[in-house]
Each structure stands twice: as structure tokens, then as C-alpha cells.
């Protein structure tokens, strides 16, 4: 049985996990202890960012380790506009997306000519550039001191006293990214992305313009990452170059996607839901610098999973159980 209400073909089987996800996550804040809300917010953020990465990295094969640059640029745009110019973040987040689109267009065309680890290295270089530029242009970005957001609760300013609105905002962002991933995966565009990923020359020979579609994938991916970055800034209410242009954030999203299964829709979400809560919990449970133990386990998990199931958890599950 298939539905034709949505712009892609989808069997009813997909609706059950999605619906249950939506219901459970919407109701969750009222039934779980409140200290877990932050954990879930961080998880949704990681899941959304991982799915955004997946659009470029998983579907289109643009293995980027520098997604932090979009995150940071989005965060800085909305925060600077709010703190220094009084522009409400609701507009600021779209300015952030616009800046990221410009960045992609300028940097993307030359950089997308690179493949594999060269592209990954170039994206790392990009993060490094922006990190240092953020520290250097103190006049605009307040440099290494960072920008705290003044506490004036109000809907227009996207500042609130309780975490609940942010819970739903990040949940919404995550579900939105999931929906977009679904749409891309099942549509012609997604097909083109995957064709380019598998064999760019053959795709070009078949009439798919690789440059255009690779750019498109990067643009979508960057835009969502930027949105998440801007929301993050509003949630944490303080940003500085070290936090938002942190390479490890972007690397983490790539790793989460790969663990869950890059190239699949659910993969990044599965990866994020498995790893991120564990990470946050262990970090807060073990005090002092012994908290880094969580990262060791995290690293071990990645190495182990990469060596045993390189296609990710979802890929492995499909291979074994969906004959």
C-alpha cells in the first residue's frame, strides 16, 4: 500500500516509526525528569546536525569534516545581529543561512572539485580559517571573549526561562531535517546525489551535472547546519570561537552518521540517539578531567564499529534482516 499525498512514494511501513517517534518525543518532557531534557535537546541537536551532514556527506558523498564552519557562521550571524544590532533571532537565523549560502557558493565551487580525503582536509582547513578569523576580527565578533546574550525573556528575542520551548524547537528542527532527508532520498534529486556519489564521471556522462548537484547538496546541508547553529546560540546564550568553530563538533556529526549508516535516512538519527546521550551522561557523571573517559569509549566505539560494520548500523540491519 502506498500513499500519494506526499511528493514521493512511501510505503505505510515508514509511517509507524515516524509517528511513534513524533508521539514519544512530543510527550516525553512531561513524563521524564527535567534534568534529562537538556540531554534530549543535545541529542536532537546532534541528530539534526548529523542528518544535515548526511545530505551532503552520505547521499552526495561529499565527506566533509568541516561542518562546524556552517554551524559557527550561523551562530555568529544571529548572535551578532541580536546583541549588536537588536535584530530578533527569528530573522537572524535566516541571515545566518544566507551567509552560509554565500560561503558555499564562493568556496564550494572550487572545493567541490576535490575528492575523498582531499576534500575532508580542505574542509578542516576552512574551519581553521574561520576559527582564527573569528578571533582576529574582534570588532565584529568580539574575538575570543565571546558574546553572551543578555537575559531578557521574551518570545521575540527567543530567550526563555525554561528549557521547554527549546526542547520543541530542536525537536522540530530534527524532524524537519528528517523529513527533508526523506524527500531527498526518495526523489529524483536524491537519486542524482547518489549517482554522483557512486561514480561521478558516469553520472556526468548520463547527463547529471555533478557540479550543480554537489553544490545543491552542500547548500541544503549547510543551511540546516546553520539553523541548528543559530538555535544553539540562543539556547546556550553564549558563544565564542572555541565553542562554535570547534572542529570536533563537525567531526562528531560525521562520525555519528557513519556509525548509524551514512547514505540512509535513519542512520544519522540512530547513530545520534545511541551515542550522544551516552556521551552527555558520562561526561556529567564523572567529574574533573576523568570525564574524558567518555571520549575514550566513544573513540573505541567508532574504531570498533568502523572495522566491523563499516556500512553503519542501519546498513548492517538492512543487510541481515531485510532479505
Amino acid at each position: 500500500m502506498s500513499f500519494h499525498l506526499l511528493p514521493f512514494q512511501c510505503s505505510s511501513k515508514a509511517y509507524i516509526p515516524v509517528a511513534s517517534l513524533i508521539i514519544i518525543t512530543s510527550v516525553a518532557p512531561f513524563v521524564i525528569p527535567s534534568f534529562l531534557i537538556n540531554l534530549l535537546i543535545m541529542t536532537y541537536m546532534a541528530a539534526g546536525a548529523a542528518m544535515a551532514w548526511n545530505i551532503a556527506g552520505g547521499f552526495a558523498g561529499e565527506f566533509s569534516l568541516g561542518h562546524s564552519v556552517f554551524f559557527g557562521l550561523g551562530a555568529y550571524c544571529s548572535t551578532i545581529l541580536f546583541t549588536d544590532y537588536g535584530v530578533t533571532p527569528w530573522i537572524g537565523i535566516f541571515v545566518g543561512v544566507f551567509m552560509n549560502v554565500c560561503l558555499c557558493v564562493i568556496i564550494g565551487y572550487p572545493t567541490l572539485k576535490l575528492k575523498g580525503h582531499y576534500f575532508a582536509l580542505a574542509t578542516i582547513g576552512l574551519v581553521g580559517i574561520f576559527f582564527n578569523l573569528a578571533k582576529y576580527f574582534k570588532g565584529i565578533t568580539h574575538g575570543s571573549i565571546g558574546i553572551p546574550m543578555i537575559d531578557q525573556p521574551g518570545f521575540l528575542d527567543m530567550l526563555t526561562t525554561s528549557k521547554l520551548p527549546f526542547y520543541y524547537m530542536f525537536l522540530f528542527l530534527m524532524l524537519l531535517t528528517l523529513l527533508v532527508s526523506f524527500i531527498i532520498r526518495k526523489s529524483k534529486i536524491g537519486y542524482y546525489f547518489m549517482a554522483i556519489r557512486e561514480d561521478e564521471n558516469t553520472a556526468a556522462a548520463l547527463g547529471i551535472d555533478p557540479t550543480r548537484y554537489k553544490m545543491f547538496a552542500l547548500l541544503i546541508s549547510a543551511s540546516f547546519t546553520s539553523l541548528i547553529g543559530s538555535f544553539y546560540a540562543c539556547y546556550i546564550q553564549y558563544i565564542d570561537p572555541t565553542t562554535v568553530f570547534d572542529i570536533m563538533k563537525g567531526v562528531n556529526w560525521a562520525l555519528l552518521s557513519l556509525i548509524g549508516g551514512a547514505g540512509s535516512v535513519w542512520g544519522p538519527l540512530v547513530g545520534a540517539f545511541l551515542v550522544e546521550p551516552f556521551n552527555v551522561l558520562v561526561k556529567s557523571a564523572i567529574p574533573g578531567h576523568y570525564g574524558f573517559v567518555s571520549n575514550i569509549i566513544y573513540g573505541l566505539l567508532f574504531v570498533f564499529l568502523a572495522l566491523t560494520v563499516p556500512e553503519g548500523i542501519v546498513g548492517y540491519w538492512r543487510r541481515r534482516f531485510k532479505k
Partner: protein, 297 residues
């Protein structure tokens, strides 16, 4: 003018250590086609090794080089067997994840065991400097540069005059043919990785003697190493030396005349540009033009 000369001299001194830790990375890449993201952590571990020798046995970093180097060689061999060999034939993304994962593991192990505090080693040569014609040359750094030159000579001799060196170069050029000629590739990979870590550990000892360090220092060094490796040509050892000196000079020139925070954007920008020019084939075109220009004469 004096300031400029001083800057250049400091740049070359700094650059020689950079070149030293980048040679290992380019060697691995040239022979095994693996981008070792964990390279920075090997640098960091050898720094701490040198620090440990200094703190508990009173051996100063430069004297401790043979000990650290031999330990590093064996550590490299063990590493290669454990997690590099399984990934050599896998997809690029797997190579990246595994080496990144190892980097995360090592860095966090160091953070747990060595604490995130920044430390430094003080030795008699850290504070002494030579004065040559108005320029001050730090003795510690001069020794590091001498070590680099010495190592380069030995490496050159090893690669070009010995049987193992020949095997490594052959495997780097064409693995299958080398295998057909009787050179066991996987064995060579192991040795190459060991040598790479050995070279890196020597650089680590120099760094321990000269600059402050903490467990996260690996990340910043490995980024510089990537830049050097790409600028010098992946797999090109002499190129890594030249590129290392160049990056060291750029770093110091930008630091003196502009702002130290601007140095990374400049060399990352160069890095990305060179990567793109390589991919587009412009560098080959340039090389061809230069060759034909010379030939035309």
C-alpha cells in the same frame, strides 16, 4: 632589516621541526595512501615520553631521543598491525573514521592520565642563545635544526642506498609490481609506519624541549603537518622539508608583521588553494610549462 632577518631565522628554525614531524606523515601517505589523522597524537605521545624521561629519569629531551625513538618505532609497528593494516584496502571514509577514532582515543587517554594542564621543560639550552651579527639564535632551536638536517641525511641515505629503502620506494611507486618483484607489501607497510613514527618521535622530543605542551597539542600540530604535506607534495619527502621551512617562515613573518592569529588563515588558505590547483591539474600544467621553457633554451 634586522627584525626581518631575525624573523626569517626564527621561521627557519621553527620550520625545521615542523618539517621533521611532517616527513613521517608524508612517508605514510606516499607509501600506504593513508591519511593518518592520528599523527598528531603520536607527536603528543612522544612529547610526553620525552617529558617522562626528563621528569623521572633526569634525561634531557635531546639526549633521550634514541630511547624515545626506539620505543616509538615499536609502538608504530604495533599500531600498524592493530589498526592500520585492516583499513588499508577499505574505503576512504573508513580510513578517516578509524584514524580519527584512534586520535580521539589517544588524546583522551592522555587527558585522563596526564591531565589537561600545560607543561614545559626547562633545560640549560632553552635559555641560551648565540648572537650572530645582531641576530639572536636560540641554542635549543639550533640543536633541533641540526637534528633535523642530520635525520634528513640519514633518511636520504636509507631510502636511496639500502635494500629496505629501495623496497619502500618501490612499493610507494607501484605496489603490485613491487610485489611481483618479491617485495612483501604488508611487511613494508609495517616497517614504513614504524619509521614514520620514529621520525615523528624525534620531532616530538625537539618540541618537548622547546615549547610548552598539553594533551591537546597534537591537534594543532597535525593541522600544520597536513598543510606542509600538501604543499610539499604528498609522498614527497624533500618537498615536506622545503614546505616545512616555508610554513615556519610564513608563520613567523605573519606573526611579526601582522598578527599571529592571522597566520593559520593564511597558510590554510594556501593549503586549500594548492589542494584545488592540484585537483584541477594546474600544478602539472605549470610544471610542464617550466620544463618546456627550460628545454626550449
Amino acid at each position: 632589516m634586522d627584525i626581518f632577518l631575525q624573523t626569517i631565522v626564527n621561521g627557519i628554525l621553527y620550520g625545521s621541526v615542523i618539517a621533521l614531524f611532517s616527513i613521517g606523515l608524508t612517508l605514510i601517505f606516499g607509501v600506504m595512501d593513508v591519511v593518518n589523522f592520528a599523527h598528531g597524537e603520536y607527536i603528543m605521545l612522544s612529547i610526553y615520553g620525552a617529558y617522562g624521561l626528563h621528569r623521572f629519569l633526569g634525561i634531557d629531551p635531546y639526549t633521550g631521543i634514541p630511547i624515545v625513538a626506539i620505543a616509538a618505532y615499536f609502538f608504530g609497528i604495533v599500531s600498524e598491525r592493530s589498526f592500520i593494516r585492516p583499513i588499508i584496502n577499505q574505503a576512504v571514509s573508513v580510513k578517516i573514521i578509524v584514524t580519527l577514532g584512534i586520535s580521539i582515543i589517544f588524546q583522551n587517554l592522555a587527558l585522563v592520565f596526564f591531565s589537561p594542564n600545560t607543561r614545559a621543560i626547562q633545560t640549560w639550552y632553552t635559555v641560551k642563545s648565540l648572537h650572530v651579527g645582531g641576530i639572536e639564535i636560540s641554542l635549543g632551536r639550533l640543536i633541533a635544526m641540526a637534528i633535523t638536517i642530520f635525520i634528513m641525511i640519514i633518511l636520504h641515505a636509507f631510502l636511496n642506498r639500502t635494500k629496505y629503502g629501495l623496497a619502500i620506494r618501490a612499493t610507494a611507486q607501484d605496489k603490485t609490481t613491487a610485489q611481483l618483484m618479491g617485495m612483501p607489501s604488508y611487511h613494508i607497510y609495517t616497517i614504513t609506519f614504524g619509521i614514520s613514527i620514529l621520525l615523528t618521535s624525534i620531532a616530538g622530543c625537539c618540541l618537548a624541549a622547546l615549547y610548552p605542551f598539553s594533551p591537546t597539542v597534537g591537534t594543532q600540530y597535525v593541522l600544520i603537518a597536513f598543510v606542509v604535506v600538501v604543499l610539499g607534495g604528498l609522498g614527497n619527502i624533500n618537498g615536506a622539508l622545503v614546505a616545512g621551512l616555508f610554513i615556519g617562515s610564513v608563520h613567523n613573518i605573519v606573526g611579526t608583521y601582522l598578527d599571529l592569529t592571522l597566520a593559520p588563515p593564511i597558510y590554510y588558505g594556501l593549503f586549500i588553494t594548492v589542494l584545488i590547483l592540484r585537483a584541477v591539474g594546474y600544478l602539472e600544467k605549470l610544471q610542464y610549462k617550466l620544463k618546456s621553457f627550460r628545454g626550449g633554451k
